[in-house]
Amino acid sequence: MLGFLYARQTGLDDPVRLRRAESTRRVLSLELNHNRDVDRIHGNGINTLDIEVIDGRYMLSGGSDGVIVIYDLENNSKKPQYTCKAICTVGRSSRHVHKFSVETVQWYPHDTGMFVSSSFDKTMKVWDAETLKPADEFQFDGNVYCHHMSPIARKHSLVAVGTKDPKVQLCDLKSGSRIHILQGHRGEILSVRWSPRYEHILATASTDSRVRIWDVRRASGSLFTLDQHNGDKSKASSEAVNTAHNGRVNGLCFTADGLHLLTTGTDDRMRLWNSGTGENTLVNYGKVVNESRKGLKFTVSRGCSPEFVFVPCGSSVAVYGLHSGELITMLRGHYNNVDCCEFHPDYQELYSGGKDCNILAWVPVLRQPDVDDEETNTKRGGTQAAINPAFADAWSSDED
């Protein structure tokens, strides 16, 4: 640490290097911290989380009961103990609340005054974050599984919507109309993602176990389909050609730089693809338990030197090295299946929501002061024990 600081001071290192090192360290030390709580508002499972990118302060959550909550993540109290408060809620009593489970929520990428939510009640609503009233509402024919707005788009304001219908719908927020459909899939669309690198590139995942990459400017069809065998026909059975997984594909995530794409499927696999060529990089993540029938929201870290993937895996969150495929750790804390997790890039915190109605904040452990003095060490131990007597062993003497 000191070495990094010194190198940074003397200008030997790239400015990002210290930052990367520290954020990597912090990600590696993520754990459940009892100083950080998130208000329990949801009375039902939490399906989706989203943290806005402008201030990194507000977090949206959508629950299976149709409730949408906005949390304030910033701790202004100057105390380590902090409970993330729910600023406002679209509760069941609200007139505009979604009737059924909210599947996806997303902040408008350029402003916190608006967010979009989609639900199993076949609607997608565009909300005014100030008044908590829907500014616009899109009706669809089937359950809406997912939607996504491009995080970088300047030239368009399209929302890609995946529904029960195999056609991907594109809704234009400017006109408030559905302007385009993308045809090609043969099953329900479980996940859609815009590339964070090219604003017209869209990836969609479907129950027909295919993942397609689209250029929305091109009307004729998808650019290409991801193939788990990289075109090696001998390995693939006839019907498994051009499939990304052997089961439903229910999760999509671009890396922060947009060069790679991660997919998860119900075949308990996670795959990393080169998003430019559609090539399977064949990173082996091992078994990633995935029984979700709906979309799975997982995330990658940002700004670390080896990047990490956080993927819900049963009742815990698995942390993998992105390119190594190595399982770093399992974050255990939920008591039921985890459905979504969201990484906070500024604080290297992870928020996860699950069916047990909890939103858990995984906070990096603070670095212990580097003291090699024996005396202070024992003293510190003493003080810690004094602070928290519960950590002390309590062997009674009668066992002798």
Binding site: N336, A390, E399
Partner: protein
Amino acid sequence: MDQTMRDKLSQLVEELTTSGEPQLNQDKMKEVKKICRVSDSYIDHFYHLIMTQLNQEHAEIRLSAFQMVNEVFSRSHHFRVLLITNFQEFLELTVETDAEQPLPPPKEVARKLRTLAIQTVQSWHATYGEAYKKLSLGYHFLKQIKKVDFQDVEARTLAERKRQEEKQKRLERIYKEKLDKAKQEMEEMTSGIEETLTEMNNCIRLLATDDFNLFDEDSAASISTTAEDQSDQPCCSKDLSNEHNGKMMEKKTDKEQTDESSDESDMEEVPDEDAFLRSTGLMSYRYQLELDVSADLKVRETEENEALVNTVRDLHRLVTTRHLPLVQSWVQVFTKVGVEEELMRRATELKKSLEHVLRKHEYLHIDYKDRERLVMRAPEDGEDDDDDFVDVPEKEGYEPHIPEHLRTEYGLDETPSTSTSGTKAKPSRPVVKCAVPPVSSSLSRLKRRMCDEEQDPTCAAATLRVLKQKLHPAPSTSVPDGSSESAVSSSDQSNMTKNKASFKAPVIPFGMDLYYWGEEQPTAGKIIKQTSQHQFWVPHEVEEEVENKELSAQMKSRCITYAGKFKPVEHKCKAPMPNGSLCERQDRVKCPFHGHIIPRDELGRPVNPEDALRLEREKRKREEEQPDWRDPELMREIEAATGEDLGSSKTYGKGKKGNKGKSKKKYPNLTDLKQKANTSRSRLEKKVFNKSSMRRVTEVMNKMDKRKHEKFANQFNYALN
């Protein structure tokens, strides 16, 4: 880390968890704690051991393991960290948070485990919840998601409560339906019931005029206790004549007479009252006259009240079979559901009045005639014997004392002891004696029939005969004319001996053999053959007689089917059975299971030594004839492979004792889960659902199907399916 210590720890954990006891053995637990205290690595090991044991599908193992967890949890921080990291699984295994992963049997232990686990988690949360985030999360999870009520002593989970609620709801719905039905029924039926009630009340009132005040509760009670009427009035006929109801008169006089006769010993004790006796014909001033008025209040069916009695009878049947159960069911439903008072009151009132009427009816003791008798009698009414029928009251069962004047009507001779009553100085002339001149065969037959009747235990004559025999050997000294009595008895006896032969002779239908009794049958067994059937042409020899031996034997002999008396078998087979008891079969000669029945003692051993020897020999022979599929070696192998008991262990002791240790249970202290499955249902299932029987059933059903197809094969309709 010391390997021996590790092994010891493993052994201790296993011993403790498989003890099957509700509490841990403190000494062993102390040792475990001592080992765990040494180092965290032991705790690691201990943790893994415990988690393995918690995963066992046996509630007792889990309970013990949980108790150990509780002991160590409060002591070691390292253990707490380990456990809390995997707290979710721990809760699944102990609190049953996952509905698809229920706690294993036995049930009561599982319930105990859950209760204990919930209480413990609560106390852990109180102590350590601050420090261990996941623990408090788990607590909240239990509390808010699983809705475990920590105050609830029964510690029911949400699912359980829901189930209970549903059950409650269902019950309520059923009750409501019942209630509605009952209400509706009540509305419909009440008027009918009330009508019946009034009708019945009126009938009863008509039958027994209410002077008795019978149906007043307390007066009825006073009447039912025998009213001892100790009046100095010499004659109580006045009282009796006061009896308003003419129907009862006859009965009462009967009563009086019997009373008198039973009181005769009293009379004898006052001999100095001769004057009174002479003047009144009564023996005493003081009669102890018992009047069982209420108990004997009997209404007999006569012609004038026949209609009434019929109605009462019908109504009674209606009330007992229909209305009362109905009303009772209403009351039951109402009490269960809890309805408005008014309805309830009405129902109970109805019930009460119904019961009251029934009670009244009981007081009446109505003597119903047999319906058949009534029908029979109707056309004969005008005939000569009608006076016999009209006056004779029905008797229910036998009466020890039969009034003198009725004796002949009963077809009995007068018992000598009763015939001595002073009031009736009629010379005792037994009917039998005068009726049986020994030569007269028709009369002897009558006599015989009477004897037959006496033989028949259902006949009144038989009981009387028994009585008579009892009375003979004990002639009372107080009887004045003992000589006549003895004469009667002696004549009786002579009659008996005379009749003995004829009594023994069988009665058989008349036949040819009797017709020619003691003579030679001339045509016995002779057949006349007619060789030609021609009308005019007559053969030379007119007829030909052929003697048939068989036929002649048939003519002379007579078949008498022997119907011997059924003698119930009194011995039992008593052969010892595998379950320790003795065979209870009562076959006459041979038990289908144990062969010829031989005398055995109470332990089932044969009494005769030669029987024992024979049995022994047979047994040995049977053992040798053991079919080869029951070869004990083979059976043991099959058992080891399938895990089912085929009974090789009891294969006649020839098998080695080697497999005894193998079959012994691994943990004898634990409740055997498999044993529980041995219910009547499972046994039946084994029989019904085993392969061969299923195959048989399917075969039969296939055959039936086939037959149908064959039958209608030529019909397009059936040919298709």
